[in-house]
Amino acid sequence: MKKIVGYRRPHPGTQPAYNYPPYRSTQKRCPTQPLVLPPQTISEITGPIFGHGDVKPSDSDLTRQHKGEPIGERIVVTGRVLDENGRAVPDTLIEVWQANSSGRYPHRTDQHNAPLDPNFSGAGRTVTDAEGRYRFVTIRPGEYPWRNHHNAWRPAHIHFSLFGQAFLQRMVTQMYFPGDPLLPYDPMFTCIENEAARNRLVSVFDWESTVPEQALGYRFDIVLRGREETPLEKMP
């Protein structure tokens, strides 16, 4: 086996803590003992490989999964998956899920009294192309209340799950919308200390992927952990 070239440690302030009191549920679900920091091994720098055979083209259009069209504003979400070295992450699985346009999930535990939409399930998936690009068609999700604190509302968001090329690149994140007035009040958003890192989770309006007379485009690029540079061979 070749020498293991590991993945970089996170840049300070760019990842949430496990214990973040403003998000109340973290209190009983965060480790209290220090995490153990082992060297990275072949078990972590490998990971499951999913390919184009694991998804259907229709999986990436959430507006075409039922007989009728879902209620709401159609949007196109595109972007690239890169690593910290700026290299594209090709052929990697992306899974998304979201509320419908009224802010309701078709889930047995979602008791919000907003209407369900029989034409919207809110789940999609796709695999990035050779340049790390992806594209989903969906409807803009609604905001919804939750019980974290008095008058708590989640900003509109889409959940993203990515595998990358190693188990150490595994990531679940959320995409937000530009100008959402709820963002500063949302502990999911504020849990990321570094402002630039926080704003990376906000998509940008994208005129070029906007489809005339059909759907607004939003661009959301995702950066996965990148490799340490290959150690230099011994100097002469």
Binding site: Y18, R29, P31, Q40, I45, G47, W97, V172, M188
Partner: protein, 187 residues
């Protein structure tokens, strides 16, 4: 070029909507070589309550100790169709159960072989970024004793990575807090 990675966010309470399609409770299909094992347990929060909105994922080598991944360049056989990935959402009481084969030993740091193990990721509402841990095997005492990763774990906490044999099942719980808090790794 130097970017920093995007921030992780919680899967939230409705994770099943997006993630359930890939549920894999039987990691090793028919025709896969190796010793069959069933592993079951619960995800438990700081109040001792089962986490009903959680999910674990498993990544493992085959019985020969080879990963289905291009960076595993060991000259060892691998079954056609072997992936080595499991995804198991918890039930209403925080329980999970899956079957697989015990993996072989894979290379570790310093040229020392690692003991057979499964890599585990843990996701749930109330967790802003997933946790990673490992499952080792109680009947591998000799290999466990020389495992370079287990050696880094305080001896008193190693048992949290070791399932207990209960009949034909290996019982293994993930405790987020408390006396038997599971050891989590940060790579």
């Amino acid at each position: 070029m130097s970017l920093f990675a995007s921030g992780n966010q919680t899967v939230g309470p409705y994770l099943h909507i997006g993630l359930e399609w890939l549920t894999t409770r039987d990691i090793a299909g028919k025709g896969v070589k190796g010793e069959r094992v069933a592993i079951a347990g619960r995800l438990i929060d700081g109040d001792g309550m089962g986490v009903s909105d959680g999910l674990i994922e498993i990544w493992q080598a085959n019985a020969e100790g080879k990963y289905a991944h291009p960076e595993d360049t060991q000259k060892k056989p691998i079954e056609k169709g072997w992936r080595g990935f499991g995804r198991i959402p918890t039930d209403g009481k925080g329980g999970f159960r899956f079957t697989t084969i015990k993996p072989g030993r894979v290379p570790g740091p310093g040229g020392v072989l690692q003991a057979p193990h499964l890599v585990v990721t843990v996701f749930m509402r109330g967790m802003l970024r997933h946790l990673m841990t490992r499952i080792y095997f109680p009947d591998e005492a000799a290999a466990n004793a020389e495992d370079p990763i287990l050696k880094l774990v305080p001896a008193a906490r190693r048992a949290t990575l070791m399932p207990k044999k209960k009949g034909k099942t290996l019982e293994w719980n993930v405790a987020l807090q408390g006396k038997n808090e599971t050891v989590f790794f940060d790579y």
